[in-house]
Amino acid sequence: MSEGEMAIIKPEMMKSYIWLETADGSIQQVEQEVAMYCPMICQEVLQKGVGSSKNYAISLPQRVNPAMLSLIFDYCRFHHVPGRSNKERKIYDEKFIRMDTKRLCELTSAADSLQLKPLVDLTSRALARIIEGKTPEEIREIFHLPDDLTEEEKLEPLKNTMDDPRIRLLNRLYAKKRKELKEREKLKSVEVEEHVDERSVDDLLSFINGRDHKVVKTSKSKKKNKKRKEQKNGTSMGICETSEKDLKHNLHSKSRNAENVDKTASSLGDVSNLLSMEDDIFTPKTEFEDGYIDDEIDPALKEMLDREVEDFARRLNSSWVLSIGQERQPVHFSINGNGATRRLTGPAAGHK
């Protein structure tokens, strides 16, 4: 087209408009070529023939409000022009997408319901950039998401807690614990007293942990920062976390070795005795642990970790306790705590 021809604008070539109605009832008009850039509108116009006048306005999906509609049309108005270079489009997009998160979410929603793919890609990338690298708290804050996960759901293994130093500490503690138990087991002569079926050892385990919960509480009220107590709690937690089978085996041997153990069905409260026995078994070991652990973690961090470990234990244990079914027979032990301690520190002392 030479310049001469373009100077004359014939009236018939004036722009035609498309009429659109948003869910709230307000009607907007926009140039046809701008509206046609959006495939959904294009389809409505071509297939159903609507949109040519105010009375036959195209009704838009609910997620599109008038403010977003005009934003979308700004976008279409820029991009429907074919002559622009990729660089120009990119620069425009980057400027366009700069808005507060609330508007960005609304825009994303509107673009998605209108199926405008380039804008959908642009907005979803922008939202991804916002989410990237942030903690859950930060993300919840930005998007006003409800904080409706329970504590235990939040603590499920895998996820980002894999890198957690607490988990590593626990795994280390447990590994050592297991090793020590195995060694002790070899030293003692084991007599099979009665066949303890798996289920009861299960209950044993869960009640130990349930008891641990209480032990933690009491120890907390005492001097919380005593290393020993914390190691103990950490250890018990390590047990909860890892292979039950090994645990059962160790506990099994432990229970046989403690002469004062009898099985009596009683209320939950009596589990406490068993736990104290178990705790006492492990307490002497803490001296070993201290040596290993201290080398790797500095004291300030360790103190904080210890506290968190306690916390963690309490939460985990509460979930264990909750999972106990009614039909299981709780197995409890009544022990002369002192006696058990005395008996067990003997051989344990040999390891030092």
Binding site: V120, I131, F143, K159, N160, M162
Partner: protein
């Protein structure tokens, strides 16, 4: 819409998964702690992106993370798996093998594996080569030495092979021949890949990029053979090799040729239908066969690093009757000192200058004798010229710039509407 309401509540789950697809999987897992809605959403994310750098470059932690998240991931079909291992890891090969096998089992569509360059490449499991769902395959510094003849990439449309090692010259053609729908191919050769001549025969290919990695190559008699009649875009960069022969490409639209071959007749000679051309050659006489006309060429960009670049420019201007945009720029350090030969101006005024040239750009202009001659010639004879933008080298002094500006603005201009910008 109150400020206490969940801002993402209006978006459907599918859309949220789309957003999550852009994120590294490490961040995707963080979202599982957001709220009830998000708790298991991550298990359906269609793309998984793993990068060793995000795990402090500690490989054991990284591989454990990949293993576990792959295990928990529940989507029936994996849209894409991206693994980037940027530092050397001795056990990476076994792990990558398992991960690739898992991806193949989950009907993966896009696979992108990158192992750090310069290290011994890791080998891929054979099951990959019979994966029928694969549409995009991008490999970097891996070894395809185990590919046997039953490879079948019938759905692969995009194939990028960077620094990949092959068995011999026949490996790559064999792989490419199984890709019956291949449209986009990138091959970057590296030293020691057991290839002398890269042969590309692909009937549906639309874009092709051939280049060599930045390491030093031995010998200079290797080359490329290309037969891709439907090609639309070609990129060749080769500072080491000997030749590149291509069969005629009647549909080519854009080409970027940056090579040191002594003879490019069989290369440029097949690109006569090109519309946009970026060129850097060391030869002008043997650039393309005499009598070739680039009848569709509209946009030309020429590098002025070669010893007699002005001769090539003359030839091109004479042989491109429809040229509208001409851009000159020194892309590389000058390869040899400029000879003293003079510039032979075109005998008859080239058609493009008379009828079509509208834009003339020169970047890193130095104001040397030859450059001045060329610039003044073009300014004088390009009757339709609308814009001329000449940008001096940033290292020129103010005095030099002033000289250049003076000379250029005082030179006669053939076009009355021409705007000369000196910047």
């Amino acid at each position: 819409m109150g400020s206490c309401r969940d801002r993402l509540s209006q978006l459907p789950d599918d859309f949220l998964l789309q957003i999550l697809s852009w994120l590294p999987t490490k961040d995707v897992l963080v979202t599982s702690l957001l709220s009830k809605r998000w708790r298991f959403l991550w298990t359906l994310v269609p793309r998984l992106n793993y990068d060793l750098r995000l795990h402090d470059n500690t490989y054991p932690r990284f591989s454990q993370f990949v293993d576990r998240s792959l295990l928990l991931h529940k989507a029936k079909a994996l849209e894409g798996l991206n693994i980037r291992i940027g530092s050397r890891c001795n056990t990476a090969e076994n792990d990558v093998g398992v991960w690739v096998r898992t991806a193949v089992d989950r009907f993966v569509r896009e696979l992108n594996i990158s192992y750090c360059s310069g290290e011994e490449p890791i080998r891929l499991p054979r099951c990959l080569f019979t994966c029928t769902t694969l549409a995009v395959l991008k490999l970097e510094n891996l070894s395809l030495v185990d590919v046997s003849c039953y490879a079948c990439f019938q759905s692969v449309k995009t194939l990028h092979l960077l620094d990949v090692k092959y068995v011999d010259d026949q490996s790559l053609p064999r792989i490419i021949s199984t890709c019956s729908s291949l449209e986009d191919l990138v091959v970057q050769r590296c030293p020691g890949d057991n290839v002398k001549v890269v042969t590309v025969t692909a009937p549906c290919l639309k874009t092709l990029s051939l280049n060599k990695s930045s390491q030093a190559f031995e010998g200079d008699d290797d080359g490329f053979l290309v037969d891709a009649p439907k090609l639309k875009r070609l990129d060749i960069e080769d500072y080491w090799g000997g030749f590149c022969y291509i069969e005629n490409m009647p549909e080519v639209v854009e080409a970027n040729v940056d090579v040191i071959y002594k003879n490019t007749e069989k290369l440029l000679g097949s690109l006569t239908s090109v519309k946009r051309l970026k060129l850097c050659l060391i030869t002008s006489d043997a650039a393309y066969p005499a009598g070739t006309v680039f009848s569709h060429l509209v946009h030309l960009e020429l590098c002025t690093c070669a010893p007699r670049w002005w001769d090539l420019l003359t030839r091109l201007i004479e042989d491109s009757p429809k040229l509208r945009v001409l851009k000159l720029r020194q892309k590389h350090i000058r390869r040899a000192p400029s000879p003293r030969a003079s510039w032979k101006q075109p005998v008859s005024l080239p058609k493009c200058l008379l009828f079509h040239l509208e834009t003339f750009k020169w970047e890193l202009y130095e104001g040397s004798q030859k450059q001045k001659e060329v610039a003044t010639f073009i300014l004088k004879h390009a009757i339709r010229l609308k814009t001329a933008i000449i940008s001096p080298k940033p290292s020129s002094t103010l005095l030099e710039k002033h000289e250049m500006l003076k000379e250029l603005s005082s030179s006669p201009r053939g076009s009355s509407t021409c705007e000369l910008l000196f910047d």
